[in-house]
């Protein structure tokens, strides 16, 4: 009994410490992004270096909401993709090679989001298998090509399972995502995983994407 109390007390102290640490950590500043008034974001399909081909479009279908909620006007990714394809560029690798001036002439974005996926899929461990995503996101100034913001995103399902068990923040977000899924026979596991990963990365209190103009004007 005494031991249990001691244990729970130290667990409690640890939790308080964790919350304090989170509260005290300074968010990083992205001055280049603060200086330009980027609101219109063109999202290109990611360069996918992982063997999981589906990662490309799973990522692409789960990035609009986190970007939009952060306060940016995201060009409709399905429309952009169809338009580029209709103009003869069909592969994501090729789309990532399109020069800035051509993209500007066609879409007039303020910024472009480039993504490199290094891992997207299931990892198999001895007793367990888990979803894992490793990607680099880079937001580039459409006028100059300068980097405005970047983020190395690593998502490990095992960490998420722990937090879900706590009924914590992530558990609630994933709950919300699941409720929204439309009934269909599709394998939605990676849709949810990818949503979670993108949502968590962009909302990272330390180096997530700073709040953009759409939300700043709304909240005034």
């Amino acid at each position: 009994m005494g031991r249990l109390n001691k244990l729970s007390r130290s667990a409690c102290a640890l939790a308080v410490l964790a919350i304090t640490l989170v509260a005290c950590a300074e968010p990083m500043r992205f001055e280049a992004l603060e200086q330009v008034n980027s609101v219109r974001i063109l999202v290109l399909p990611p360069q996918n270096n992982s063997p999981e081909i589906e990662g490309t479009y799973t990522f692409l279908s789960t990035i609009s909401k986190p970007l939009g909620e952060r306060g940016y006007y995201v060009y409709p990714v399905g429309v952009v993709d169809s338009y580029i394809k209709a103009n003869g560029v069909t592969l994501p690798q090729e789309m990532n090679q399109i020069p800035l001036d051509k993209l500007n002439a066609q879409f007039a974005p303020d910024a472009i989001l480039y993504t490199d996926i290094d891992y997207f899929g299931q990892k198999f461990a001895l007793i367990d298998s888990y979803a894992y995503i490793d990607a680099n996101l880079e937001l580039v100034d459409a006028a100059t090509g300068n980097t405005l913001w970047q983020k190395h995103m690593v998502y490990d399902e095992r960490q998420n399972r722990q937090q879900q068990g706590d009924g914590g923040a992530l558990g609630q977000i994933i709950g919300a995502v699941l409720v929204q899924m439309i009934a269909s026979a599709m394998d939605d596991k990676f849709f949810n995983t990818s949503s979670m990963a993108n949502m968590t990365a962009l909302n990272d209190p330390i180096n997530g994407l700073p709040v953009g103009p759409l939300r700043q004007t709304q909240e005034q």
């Binding site: 729970s8 007390r9 939790a15 308080v16 219109r40 799973t58 609009s64 269909s184 599709m186």
Partner: protein, 128 residues
Amino acid sequence: MIWCVTLSCKQKIRRLPLAVGMAALAAACATPTHFHWGDYEPVLYRFYESEEGISHQEQIELLLNDIDKAQSEGKKIAPGINLHLAMLYADMGDMASAKRFVEIERELYPMSGQFSEKVFAKVLAWEG
């Protein structure tokens, strides 16, 4: 799990900041979205999954339903959804509807103007 730990904390001083922290965290999670997104992303997922994965008609029904829901919730429909609809209608040859949705998007989000002038040039030039 953390809640149980909280309750078993004996010292009130320790319990308080944790409870406040967790409450703030819970409140932050419960914060509703700024825009109504509905089925847009699942529609995109199935749109990309395979050409046959979801018909134009099915996408249109789901997205129109979201526009209704957004209105009844008093929320702004998320950026881009009207343009996705416009693309579907244009594909199906319904230029009047396509044009209407491009114009709705421009009213809601004026920053979509330059994009639409290029990408939906044919739609905007259409005269019924």
